[in-house]
Symmetry: C2
Subunit: 337 residues, 2 copies
């Protein structure tokens, strides 16, 4: 069977004790240069690698961080993950990625598993279903470093790093207004998510600033953030069945934006003639889309990087940290019409 070599193997082969071998490899001053040389050479020869599991057990840390996102098949998250990995890799940490598929149950299970696997910290973006964050609060109170990104928990005091959702939503809505649309609907994820709240706020502010009414019937939530096309379709259908149909939609999410375009195509509603669309999306193929999509782009890679920097700093901090940052990065609007 598959048996990696251990300290004991080296010790036995060289007639030393395991502690001596361990110290020789860690280059302690109390081992003679000669012994060190012998040990190092033999270790090299048999390609010895310390067992990280044994180390985790002993040191109570694993040099790994857990990541919780809703879906890797989402451009925002896959870009964020690349940012996370770039930093983690540099600083000697490994990354364990888990997906919630927007399910609260999956989120609890994954968090529980990551915690018991001795990850040294967590990077979390909440699932669409999550409104209760007790499972994270417990871990955080017991001292596990957590950094939120994208979908943050309002009631947990720690580092948070997000895009300027309100401003991005404002700009996208204003773009539609400037294009001459008057009845702008808003398609978004569950109402309790931080990103939903902020984007809704930006949407409303833009309407108000341009003296357009805010109509609650125009605001549609999708319980799974557009993961299923059904929910997008029924949301759009209910918008289109209103006595006064909207003439544009501001869409607040990556999956939702794509889903929205697909549904409109299916319903044979022309963009931008029948209806105007603008939305959040980090897709790499936006330039190839037909109908075109004016999109709010988030600095996902950078958000992942900064979140990871912050998390590793928390993990490696010698003293407990009580001052937390709330970092907001600007979005950019790519106009396609």
């Amino acid at each position: 069977m598959f048996e990696p070599s251990t300290l004991k193997d080296i010790a036995k082969a060289l007639g030393l004790s395991t502690s001596t071998v361990s110290r020789a490899l860690r280059d302690t001053h109390e081992i003679s240069a000669e012994t060190k040389k012998i040990v190092l050479e033999y270790a090299e020869k048999i390609n010895y690698r310390p067992n990280p599991i044994a180390l985790s057990l002993k040191e109570r840390r694993s040099k790994s961080i857990g990541v919780l996102v809703s879906e890797v098949a989402n451009h925002y998250f896959s870009q964020a993950i690349n940012g996370i990995e770039s930093i983690a890799y540099d600083r000697g940490y490994h990354v364990i990625i888990t997906q919630t598929h927007e399910s609260y149950e999956r989120e609890k299970i994954n968090i529980q598993h990551l915690a018991s696997r001795s990850v040294d910290g967590l990077l979390v973006s909440l699932s669409a279903e999550t409104s209760d964050t007790t499972h994270l609060k417990n871990l955080h109170q017991r001292g596990l470093p957590i950094v939120f990104f994208d979908r943050v928990a309002a009631d947990i005091d720690t580092h948070k790093i997000v895009a300027n959702n309100e401003k991005g939503a404002f700009e996208a809505t204003e773009f539609l207004i400037n294009k001459g649309y008057k009845r702008i609907a808003h398609l978004t994820s569950t109402s309790h998510l931080s990103i939903s709240i902020e984007r809704l706020l930006g949407y409303k502010k833009a309407l108000q600033q341009h003296h357009l009414p805010v109509c609650e019937d125009y605001i549609k939530h999708c319980a799974h953030g557009g993961m299923f096309l059904d929910e997008v379709e029924s949301a759009i259908n209910s918008l289109m069945n209103l006595p006064e149909k909207p003439d544009a939609i501001f869409v607040a999410g990556d999956r939702l934006s794509v889903g929205c375009l697909m549904v409109l195509k299916k319903l044979n509603i022309k963009v931008p003639d029948d209806i105007g669309i603008a939305g959040f999306s980090n897709s790499d193929v936006l330039d190839l889309l037909n109908p075109p999509l004016t999109a709010v782009h988030q600095p996902a890679y950078e958000i992942g990087q900064i979140a990871t920097e912050m998390l590793i700093n928390l993990i490696e901090s010698k003293y407990p940290v009580y001052e937390f940052e709330n970092k907001v990065l600007d979005t950019s609007l790519s106009i396609r019409s």
Copy 2:
């Protein structure tokens, strides 16, 4: 600090030994019903969970499987990962995802890390740069179960599960031929990858069967599978600078197909008037693309599922397995013109 409860805590609290507690929790016959009840209730109360790290160290298995893919930001792989997770979850395994970004070095490092982290098995799709598979061969020979999917290693004898790349490529090429294109180029990944070899074969067979010449100048390889737009652009440029320009391209990869469309748009080459395109892609937005893309779709989710089934069966097999399967799943061609 963050301190989960242990067997020792329970033992101390109840005035028992750790072994009694352990046996009570595992419901051994040699513990009295009364003691069991007390222990179980207390364990429940303090929310005891066995430390998986300690278990890994002792049992030499971790109930987790490692996955190696080139990029999660690739529709094929993100779908495959969802398939992998669906099965792994059902059978009580956890999934650790790592990305190579098509780099051989990253592949070696990730594999090494997964192995030393005591994953019980590996699901591997090779990076574009990988031509030497010694790092995997060593692990496999030492008994670590490995199942390949998508990009498989010819010289390692184990389960392999792939799409019918040759047939898919044949159909896509034939589609272009039937559309009336005569000079069909082929844009693909590195030449040593199994998928490249098989797709090239299908491409050539289609040409031959329709009495079209196979021109080596028309076959372009991208060293990083289209991960960088530069390589796609230079490949297309060199195709377009040929004395006899191709009038169509069959593209053999997800990233490559998208990249190809982007470059053509940038160069203002019209599809399908100036040039015809067909390619492999599992993107979910193909119906929204302009220019449209006729695409070979692979059953990625199913491939992930089957590979995981096979791997877990290998892991849990009581006896060494010497008979390996080579499973091939059919692709489907979605015509968009």
